[in-house]
């Protein structure tokens, strides 16, 4: 019974839920909540990107473009046109999905470096448009975004709320909300992975030719997962914009695409929990290293480099392997 539970895909989800809801015990001030909320939002984005990178084996260097598009669509629609947040998020996601589908179809026929270059170009184009259309986006100096409203109920980092008789400040409320969003994102991703679509995707990753031989429509599966990961990015971009209250074109910039990919690779490609760990580590490092001042960037690079040299599979898979090896050894010793 316990064993079966440990094998099931619910295991990770339950662990994650326990960690997420136990975490507030260790958060001592609003800044910690602030950071944890951002981590959850970015982690959900990376979970979506991992579907594309980790499972379908396709590389996107333009994902920040979709994130930024979602962020700016929400920001502009709620800020300048008086939309409510939820429709803005959903319409934005649909639009980004359509854009991803249109560019994805021809792009995903490309392989290897060509594919990464094409996604890179898409990301750049989006970033340039956001940067230059000052009348709409505020240009390089950015634009303010109203706080999130969920059918008339406003969720602002500066508000105060009561939940089941507990007094929460805005940051705590946002954290709980973001934690729920992350859980839903992980739940959806894991269901997708364990569905026929997920198996088809993994076959594409393993060998595209073999997949095609057994009758998998590789092109359509690849563009489907590209669209899904773009929608993840768009939704999270929108939430991020509402949470931050101010966005600049940096959210759509190439640098951020690289950060997202790095989170996937560092945490462990193809491991949903791994990429969440990757997001947490990469979000946390700049804050931890802030005390090193000028050496911050050097330390950052060094940590990434050493991790990739000694843990090429990524943080979590390497740790898991080490743990299970030890457990087996122990079990062997006892028998």
């Amino acid at each position: 019974m316990v064993n079966r539970f440990m094998q099931s895909r619910l295991r990770d989800l339950v662990f994650l839920a326990i960690i997420l809801f136990a975490l507030p015990a260790f958060l001592s001030n609003p800044f910690h909540y602030d950071l944890a909320t951002q981590m959850a939002i970015i982690a959900a984005t990376v979970v979506g990107l991992n579907l594309l990178v980790g499972f379908a084996g396709q590389i996107s260097l333009g994902h920040a473009g979709f994130f930024g598009l979602g962020a700016y669509f929400s920001g502009i629609m709620t800020g300048s046109y008086g939309w409510s947040s939820i429709p803005a998020l959903l319409v934005g996601a649909v639009l980004v999905g359509i854009i991803a589908w249109i560019v994805g179809r021809p792009i995903l026929r490309l392989k290897g470096h060509y594919l990464s270059m094409a996604t890179l170009a898409v990301g750049f184009i989006i970033a340039i448009i956001i940067n230059n259309e000052t009348w709409l986006t505020g240009g390089p100096d950015g634009m303010p975004v109203p706080s999130l409203d969920i059918f008339g109920w406003e969720l602002s980092p500066f508000g105060s709320y009561s939940l089941f008789g507990m007094e929460l400040d805005g940051n705590q409320a946002w954290y709980l909300f973001a934690a729920l969003v992350l859980l839903v994102a992980v739940w959806f991703a894991q269901n997708l992975i364990d569905s026929p679509i997920g198996r088809a995707l993994r076959s594409v990753h393993g060998s595209e030719v073999a997949a095609r031989v057994v009758g998998v429509n590789t092109a359509s599966y690849k563009s489907l997962v590209f669209v899904i990961s773009a929608i993840y990015a768009s939704l999270m971009g929108g939430l991020y914009a509402h949470f931050q209250g101010f966005i600049t074109p940096a959210v759509a910039a190439f640098d951020f695409s690289i950060v997202l990919i790095t989170m996937v690779v560092l945490g462990g490609m193809g491991s949903t929990m791994g990429v969440i760990l990757g997001a947490v580590v990469l979000k946390l490092l700049p804050q931890v290293l802030a005390d090193f001042q000028e050496l911050e960037t050097v330390m950052f690079g060094l940590i990434l480099m050493l991790t990739m040299i000694f843990m090429p599979k990524g943080l979590l898979p390497t740790i898991q392997m080490a743990v299970s090896k030890r457990m087996k050894k122990k079990a062997g010793g006892q028998a």
Binding site: D34, P140, Q244, G245, A250
Partner: protein, 384 residues
């Protein structure tokens, strides 16, 4: 016997404890928070700003601090990224619990932090340029550099004095150039200057001859203004000379540094720009109230860091001095009192200009705090 000893010990303990409490109170530092773009693409702003803050916090502490309390500088590097700037502002306010923030090298970084600052009700002195920071006035946000709008006013009125009323505008598409372009277009309308050509270039362009040819071929242009930042304006200046355009040429305050002269070389000859008096400390007339402040800042900075002083560092100098003055006037670090004191600062002579704050003006500078300089024989010459 035992009793007296105990009593004495008790007395000692009490005195010691009181002493500890008192020294703790006396040593309670005033926390000055700062987030600056010390590395990354905007490091030419953040680096001199941080050096200035570090140096003057030390100096102030050596001479006894403020209100008898030492200053403590808590600073983070936002790498020129607005999201990190916002996160570090959040950390300064919520985790480090600073008394005042002096920072924000770029407009993006500043604006990203504004919602947090306004909500937390902490005085914030920004070191970034664009006019949006203090217009409309935000209760808790102040800034030390002149706005790009003032630069546009200063340039266009100098042009008008020379009889130039029809100009060509070439600007960068980065934040500085884009905001400068908008302000120039607005100010031009007010001053009755016609902009006949309006072209842009992007930050990574390496040749602007096409845009300049476009301006040259526009009938009736009497002068050209380049609003930009970084190396773009240096390239524009070189191309301008290569094309042999003889019209009066203006740059913005964005390139008012000695580094620009090195980049542009002989092509810069004859161009004019609005700049801080810091570039020409010794040519200032003796009766200029800023002369002393400017000269001593330049001397102290260059002696300490063995590097050329920069206008951007001066923004940080003015920001810190305004903060100190306000805290002294308020007599405490109580945020509302400090904010009020900042608003009431009158006739404060800084390196950038003379600050006259008011509830309607959180910048406090006038357009004439910019001096018009001309490049003559490869050096800055004070015109006005």
């Amino acid at each position: 016997m035992l009793k007296t000893m105990l009593r004495r010990a008790g007395k000692f303990a009490a005195i010691a404890a009181a002493g500890l409490v008192m020294s703790a109170q006396a040593a309670e530092p005033i926390k000055i928070g700062s987030f600056l773009s010390v590395t990354g693409p905007a490091s030419f702003l953040g680096d001199p700003e941080l050096k200035t803050l570090e140096m003057y916090v030390e100096k102030i502490n050596e001479s006894g601090g403020v209100l008898g309390r030492p200053l403590e500088l808590i600073h983070y590097d936002d790498v020129g990224n607005a999201s990190s700037a916002r996160n570090f502002a959040s950390r300064l306010i919520r985790s480090d619990r600073v008394d005042i923030i002096v920072g924000g090298s770029t407009t993006g970084a500043t604006m990203a932090a504004v919602p947090l600052v306004e909500q937390a009700k902490i005085p914030f002195i920004s070191l970034a340029g664009a006019v949006v920071i203090t217009t409309p006035v935000k209760e808790w946000v102040f800034k030390t550099p002149q706005s790009d709008r003032m630069a546009a006013e200063r340039i266009l009125s100098d042009m008008k004095e020379r009889g130039i009323t029809k100009i060509g505008l070439i600007s960068g598409t980065d934040g500085f150039g884009a905001s400068g372009r908008t302000q120039t277009l607005e100010v031009a309308k007010e001053l009755g200057v016609e902009i006949l050509a309006d072209v842009t270039y992007s930050g990574s362009d390496t040749d602007m001859t096409a845009q300049l040819t476009n301006i040259r071929n526009t009938q009736g242009v009497e002068g050209v203004l380049n609003f930009g930042f970084g190396q773009g304006p240096a390239i524009v200046t070189r191309n301008y000379a290569q094309l042999g355009i003889k019209l009066p040429f203006y740059q913005s305050h964005g390139v008012a540094s000695d580094g620009f002269l090195d980049l542009a070389g002989a092509s810069a000859e004859g161009l004019r720009l609005p700049a801080s008096p810091l570039l020409v400390p010794d040519s200032l007339p003796e009766d200029d109230p800023q002369k002393e402040v400017v000269q001593s800042y330049k001397a102290e900075y260059e002696a300490r860091w063995n590097a050329k002083v920069s206008t951007f560092g001066a923004y940080a100098y003015d920001g810190l001095m305004l903060a100190v003055k306000a805290i002294e006037a308020a007599g405490s670090t109580e945020p509302e009192a400090v904010r009020k004191a900042l608003e009431n600062i009158q006739g404060h002579v800084g390196v950038t200009g003379e600050f006259n704050m008011s509830p309607e003006d959180h910048n406090g500078l006038k357009a004439d705090s910019f001096r018009i300089l001309e490049v003559q024989n490869g050096a800055w010459k004070l015109i006005n």
